[in-house]
Protein backbone atom coordinates (compact mmCIF):
# COMPACT_ATOMS: atom_id res chain seq x y z
CA UNK A 1 0.00 0.00 0.00
CA UNK A 2 1.44 3.37 -0.94
CA UNK A 3 1.68 6.22 1.57
CA UNK A 4 -0.99 8.17 -0.29
CA UNK A 5 -3.42 5.26 -0.14
CA UNK A 6 -2.82 4.98 3.61
CA UNK A 7 -3.46 8.67 4.04
CA UNK A 8 -6.95 8.55 2.55
CA UNK A 9 -9.64 7.63 5.06
CA UNK A 10 -13.23 6.50 4.65
CA UNK A 11 -15.55 8.13 3.46
CA UNK A 12 -13.45 10.71 1.61
CA UNK A 13 -13.09 10.29 -2.17
CA UNK A 14 -9.76 12.16 -2.25
CA UNK A 15 -7.15 13.80 -0.01
CA UNK A 16 -8.13 17.34 -0.94
CA UNK A 17 -11.67 16.88 0.38
CA UNK A 18 -10.38 15.04 3.43
CA UNK A 19 -8.05 17.95 4.27
CA UNK A 20 -10.90 20.40 3.74
CA UNK A 21 -13.05 18.37 6.13
CA UNK A 22 -10.40 18.43 8.85
CA UNK A 23 -9.82 22.15 8.32
CA UNK A 24 -13.55 22.82 8.53
CA UNK A 25 -13.85 20.92 11.81
CA UNK A 26 -10.92 22.82 13.30
CA UNK A 27 -12.30 26.19 12.17
CA UNK A 28 -15.64 25.31 13.76
CA UNK A 29 -13.85 24.60 17.06
CA UNK A 30 -11.81 27.80 16.74
CA UNK A 31 -14.94 29.90 16.16
CA UNK A 32 -16.07 28.79 19.64
CA UNK A 33 -12.58 29.53 20.98
CA UNK A 34 -12.83 33.05 19.58
CA UNK A 35 -15.84 33.61 21.83
CA UNK A 36 -14.09 31.98 24.80
CA UNK A 37 -11.12 34.36 24.56
CA UNK A 38 -13.46 37.15 23.41
CA UNK A 39 -15.28 37.01 26.75
CA UNK A 40 -11.96 37.58 28.55
CA UNK A 41 -11.05 40.42 26.22
CA UNK A 42 -14.42 42.12 26.61
CA UNK A 43 -14.10 41.84 30.40
CA UNK A 44 -10.64 43.37 30.22
CA UNK A 45 -11.92 46.17 27.96
CA UNK A 46 -14.83 47.00 30.27
CA UNK A 47 -12.66 47.20 33.40
CA UNK A 48 -9.98 49.12 31.54
CA UNK A 49 -12.52 51.66 30.26
CA UNK A 50 -13.46 52.44 33.89
CA UNK A 51 -9.92 52.29 35.34
CA UNK A 52 -7.71 53.60 32.57
CA UNK A 53 -4.99 55.10 34.78
CA UNK A 54 -4.83 52.10 37.10
CA UNK A 55 -4.45 49.75 34.10
CA UNK A 56 -1.68 51.96 32.70
CA UNK A 57 0.20 51.94 36.02
CA UNK A 58 -0.24 48.18 36.38
CA UNK A 59 0.78 47.53 32.75
CA UNK A 60 4.08 49.37 33.25
CA UNK A 61 5.10 46.68 35.76
CA UNK A 62 4.89 43.75 33.36
CA UNK A 63 8.11 42.16 32.09
CA UNK A 64 8.29 43.56 28.55
CA UNK A 65 11.55 41.75 27.70
CA UNK A 66 10.04 38.32 28.37
CA UNK A 67 6.82 39.32 26.60
CA UNK A 68 8.69 40.53 23.51
CA UNK A 69 10.97 37.49 23.33
CA UNK A 70 7.88 35.30 23.53
CA UNK A 71 6.19 37.23 20.72
CA UNK A 72 9.20 36.66 18.45
CA UNK A 73 9.28 32.96 19.44
CA UNK A 74 5.61 32.43 18.62
CA UNK A 75 5.78 34.31 15.31
CA UNK A 76 8.75 32.19 14.29
CA UNK A 77 6.95 29.02 15.34
CA UNK A 78 4.10 29.98 13.03
CA UNK A 79 6.61 30.18 10.17
CA UNK A 80 8.00 26.70 10.87
CA UNK A 81 4.48 25.31 11.33
CA UNK A 82 3.40 26.69 7.94
CA UNK A 83 6.44 25.15 6.26
CA UNK A 84 5.72 21.85 8.08
CA UNK A 85 2.20 21.84 6.62
CA UNK A 86 3.40 22.68 3.11
CA UNK A 87 6.14 20.06 3.33
CA UNK A 88 3.63 17.46 4.55
CA UNK A 89 1.22 18.27 1.72
CA UNK A 90 4.00 17.72 -0.83
CA UNK A 91 5.16 14.58 1.02
CA UNK A 92 8.56 15.98 2.06
CA UNK A 93 8.75 13.82 5.14
CA UNK A 94 12.14 14.88 6.53
CA UNK A 95 11.41 18.60 6.26
CA UNK A 96 8.01 18.05 7.88
CA UNK A 97 9.64 16.30 10.84
CA UNK A 98 12.36 18.96 11.24
CA UNK A 99 9.85 21.81 11.11
CA UNK A 100 7.52 20.08 13.60
CA UNK A 101 10.42 19.54 16.01
CA UNK A 102 11.50 23.19 15.71
CA UNK A 103 7.90 24.35 16.21
CA UNK A 104 7.52 22.29 19.39
CA UNK A 105 10.93 23.49 20.63
CA UNK A 106 9.90 27.12 20.09
CA UNK A 107 6.68 26.44 21.99
CA UNK A 108 8.66 24.94 24.89
CA UNK A 109 11.01 27.95 24.83
CA UNK A 110 7.92 30.18 25.11
CA UNK A 111 6.75 28.27 28.19
CA UNK A 112 10.20 28.44 29.80
CA UNK A 113 10.28 32.20 29.22
CA UNK A 114 6.78 32.47 30.65
CA UNK A 115 7.85 30.50 33.73
CA UNK A 116 10.81 32.83 34.30
CA UNK A 117 8.49 35.79 33.90
CA UNK A 118 6.00 34.38 36.42
CA UNK A 119 8.88 33.91 38.86
CA UNK A 120 9.83 37.59 38.51
CA UNK A 121 6.19 38.64 38.94
CA UNK A 122 5.78 36.57 42.09
CA UNK A 123 9.04 37.92 43.49
CA UNK A 124 7.48 41.37 43.23
CA UNK A 125 4.23 40.07 44.82
CA UNK A 126 2.27 41.07 41.72
CA UNK A 127 -0.56 38.69 42.53
CA UNK A 128 -3.91 40.19 43.58
CA UNK A 129 -4.32 39.82 47.33
CA UNK A 130 -3.28 41.21 50.73
CA UNK A 131 0.34 42.25 49.98
CA UNK A 132 -0.18 43.63 46.51
CA UNK A 133 2.40 46.42 46.09
CA UNK A 134 0.70 48.74 43.58
CA UNK A 135 -1.97 51.39 43.98
CA UNK A 136 -4.71 52.38 43.25
CA UNK A 137 -6.53 49.13 44.16
CA UNK A 138 -7.86 48.74 40.61
CA UNK A 139 -4.32 47.78 39.50
CA UNK A 140 -5.18 44.38 40.98
CA UNK A 141 -7.88 43.99 38.35
CA UNK A 142 -5.25 44.28 35.62
CA UNK A 143 -3.08 41.69 37.34
CA UNK A 144 -6.06 39.41 37.84
CA UNK A 145 -6.64 39.48 34.09
CA UNK A 146 -2.91 39.09 33.47
CA UNK A 147 -2.72 35.80 35.39
CA UNK A 148 -5.94 34.39 34.00
CA UNK A 149 -5.38 35.32 30.36
CA UNK A 150 -1.71 34.35 30.16
CA UNK A 151 -2.31 31.09 32.05
CA UNK A 152 -5.21 30.10 29.79
CA UNK A 153 -3.09 30.95 26.76
CA UNK A 154 -0.23 28.86 28.17
CA UNK A 155 -2.63 25.93 28.67
CA UNK A 156 -3.67 26.20 25.03
CA UNK A 157 -0.05 26.34 23.94
CA UNK A 158 0.81 23.33 26.11
CA UNK A 159 -2.01 21.42 24.40
CA UNK A 160 -0.59 22.49 21.04
CA UNK A 161 2.93 21.32 21.97
CA UNK A 162 1.54 17.98 23.15
CA UNK A 163 -0.36 17.47 19.89
CA UNK A 164 2.65 18.49 17.77
CA UNK A 165 4.85 16.07 19.73
CA UNK A 166 2.38 13.18 19.33
CA UNK A 167 1.99 13.89 15.61
CA UNK A 168 5.80 14.05 15.25
CA UNK A 169 6.15 10.60 16.84
CA UNK A 170 3.34 9.14 14.71
CA UNK A 171 5.00 10.51 11.56
CA UNK A 172 8.47 9.43 12.64
CA UNK A 173 7.33 5.87 13.32
CA UNK A 174 5.33 5.91 10.06
CA UNK A 175 2.15 5.05 11.96
CA UNK A 176 0.35 7.75 9.95
CA UNK A 177 1.59 9.20 6.65
CA UNK A 178 2.68 12.87 6.59
CA UNK A 179 0.62 13.81 3.55
CA UNK A 180 -2.70 12.90 5.17
CA UNK A 181 -5.03 15.47 6.68
CA UNK A 182 -3.55 15.49 10.22
CA UNK A 183 -1.27 18.48 9.66
CA UNK A 184 -4.17 20.61 8.42
CA UNK A 185 -5.88 20.70 11.82
CA UNK A 186 -2.66 20.92 13.83
CA UNK A 187 -1.39 23.92 11.84
CA UNK A 188 -4.63 25.90 12.03
CA UNK A 189 -4.84 25.38 15.80
CA UNK A 190 -1.22 26.44 16.31
CA UNK A 191 -1.69 29.66 14.34
CA UNK A 192 -4.82 30.45 16.35
CA UNK A 193 -2.90 30.22 19.64
CA UNK A 194 -0.32 32.55 18.07
CA UNK A 195 -3.01 35.03 17.00
CA UNK A 196 -4.46 35.16 20.55
CA UNK A 197 -1.01 36.14 21.80
CA UNK A 198 -0.87 38.95 19.23
CA UNK A 199 -3.80 40.57 21.06
CA UNK A 200 -2.53 39.77 24.56
CA UNK A 201 0.93 41.22 23.92
CA UNK A 202 -0.09 44.88 23.34
CA UNK A 203 -2.82 44.79 26.00
CA UNK A 204 -0.53 43.43 28.71
CA UNK A 205 2.99 44.53 27.87
CA UNK A 206 2.81 47.64 25.69
CA UNK A 207 -0.02 49.72 27.18
CA UNK A 208 1.40 51.93 29.92
CA UNK A 209 4.96 52.26 28.60
CA UNK A 210 4.84 55.85 27.31
Amino acid sequence: MSDTAGALQHPWPNLRLQREGVGLGMWLFLASEVLFFGALFVGFAVYRSFNEDAFRIAGAHTEIVYGSINTALLLTSSLTMTVALRAATTNMRDLTLVCLAVTAALGVAFLICKGLEYREDLKEHLFPGPHFPLSPPATQMFWGFYWIMTAIHAVHLTGGIAVVTVVFVLFKRRIIPVQGSTMEGVAIYWHFVDSVWLVLYPLIYLAGRS
Partner: protein, 110 residues
Protein backbone atom coordinates in the same frame (compact mmCIF):
# COMPACT_ATOMS: atom_id res chain seq x y z
CA UNK B 1 13.85 8.47 -10.28
CA UNK B 2 17.48 9.40 -11.02
CA UNK B 3 19.04 7.59 -13.93
CA UNK B 4 22.60 6.64 -12.77
CA UNK B 5 23.85 6.50 -16.35
CA UNK B 6 22.78 10.10 -16.90
CA UNK B 7 24.45 12.62 -14.54
CA UNK B 8 22.27 15.41 -15.94
CA UNK B 9 19.08 13.81 -14.63
CA UNK B 10 20.50 13.83 -11.06
CA UNK B 11 21.32 17.52 -11.37
CA UNK B 12 17.83 18.23 -12.72
CA UNK B 13 16.28 16.42 -9.79
CA UNK B 14 18.41 18.39 -7.33
CA UNK B 15 17.39 21.63 -9.06
CA UNK B 16 13.72 20.65 -8.87
CA UNK B 17 14.07 19.80 -5.18
CA UNK B 18 15.79 23.07 -4.30
CA UNK B 19 13.15 24.95 -6.30
CA UNK B 20 10.45 23.16 -4.31
CA UNK B 21 12.20 23.97 -1.01
CA UNK B 22 12.39 27.62 -2.09
CA UNK B 23 8.66 27.57 -2.86
CA UNK B 24 7.93 26.08 0.57
CA UNK B 25 9.81 28.80 2.46
CA UNK B 26 9.46 31.92 0.30
CA UNK B 27 5.83 32.94 0.95
CA UNK B 28 5.71 32.08 4.69
CA UNK B 29 9.12 33.73 5.24
CA UNK B 30 7.89 36.97 3.66
CA UNK B 31 4.80 36.96 5.88
CA UNK B 32 6.98 36.20 8.92
CA UNK B 33 9.23 39.15 8.02
CA UNK B 34 6.20 41.45 7.72
CA UNK B 35 4.93 40.21 11.10
CA UNK B 36 8.30 40.82 12.76
CA UNK B 37 8.48 44.34 11.28
CA UNK B 38 4.95 45.12 12.53
CA UNK B 39 5.85 43.72 15.95
CA UNK B 40 8.89 46.03 16.00
CA UNK B 41 6.75 49.03 15.02
CA UNK B 42 4.22 48.22 17.75
CA UNK B 43 7.05 47.92 20.29
CA UNK B 44 8.46 51.31 19.20
CA UNK B 45 5.06 53.01 19.31
CA UNK B 46 4.69 51.94 22.95
CA UNK B 47 7.37 54.46 23.97
CA UNK B 48 5.94 57.41 22.03
CA UNK B 49 3.85 59.83 24.10
CA UNK B 50 0.64 59.58 22.07
CA UNK B 51 -1.83 59.55 24.98
CA UNK B 52 -4.90 57.48 24.22
CA UNK B 53 -3.72 56.87 20.66
CA UNK B 54 -1.05 54.42 21.85
CA UNK B 55 -3.49 51.63 22.58
CA UNK B 56 -5.46 52.35 19.40
CA UNK B 57 -2.24 52.08 17.37
CA UNK B 58 -1.27 48.83 19.12
CA UNK B 59 -4.65 47.26 18.47
CA UNK B 60 -4.68 48.43 14.84
CA UNK B 61 -1.23 46.89 14.29
CA UNK B 62 -2.36 43.69 16.05
CA UNK B 63 -5.40 43.57 13.76
CA UNK B 64 -3.19 43.87 10.66
CA UNK B 65 -0.90 41.14 12.02
CA UNK B 66 -3.84 38.80 12.63
CA UNK B 67 -5.23 39.48 9.15
CA UNK B 68 -1.83 38.57 7.66
CA UNK B 69 -1.62 35.45 9.80
CA UNK B 70 -5.15 34.27 9.02
CA UNK B 71 -4.97 35.11 5.30
CA UNK B 72 -1.58 33.67 4.46
CA UNK B 73 -0.38 31.32 7.20
CA UNK B 74 -3.80 29.87 8.02
CA UNK B 75 -4.43 30.03 4.25
CA UNK B 76 -7.85 31.61 4.47
CA UNK B 77 -7.29 33.07 0.97
CA UNK B 78 -7.58 29.56 -0.49
CA UNK B 79 -10.27 28.36 1.94
CA UNK B 80 -13.64 27.06 0.83
CA UNK B 81 -16.74 29.22 1.16
CA UNK B 82 -17.97 27.31 4.22
CA UNK B 83 -14.67 27.77 6.07
CA UNK B 84 -14.80 31.51 5.34
CA UNK B 85 -18.37 31.54 6.57
CA UNK B 86 -17.39 29.91 9.87
CA UNK B 87 -14.41 32.25 10.32
CA UNK B 88 -16.71 35.18 9.56
CA UNK B 89 -19.32 33.86 12.00
CA UNK B 90 -16.71 33.78 14.80
CA UNK B 91 -15.78 37.37 14.02
CA UNK B 92 -19.42 38.42 13.77
CA UNK B 93 -20.31 37.04 17.23
CA UNK B 94 -17.19 38.61 18.69
CA UNK B 95 -18.17 42.03 17.30
CA UNK B 96 -21.72 41.50 18.57
CA UNK B 97 -20.44 40.64 22.06
CA UNK B 98 -18.30 43.80 22.19
CA UNK B 99 -21.05 45.98 20.70
CA UNK B 100 -23.80 44.86 23.04
CA UNK B 101 -21.56 44.99 26.12
CA UNK B 102 -20.29 48.50 25.41
CA UNK B 103 -23.71 49.61 24.23
CA UNK B 104 -24.72 49.06 27.85
CA UNK B 105 -21.66 50.37 29.72
CA UNK B 106 -21.01 53.44 27.55
CA UNK B 107 -24.64 54.55 27.69
CA UNK B 108 -24.86 54.56 31.49
CA UNK B 109 -24.92 58.10 32.90
CA UNK B 110 -23.87 57.78 36.50
Amino acid sequence: MTDPSNPQSGARERDARSEQAWWLWKGPALVWLALIVLFGISFGVAYLPLGGANLAAHLAIAAVMIVLLVTFLMDMRNATAIVRLIGGAGLFWLILMFSLTFNDYLSRHY
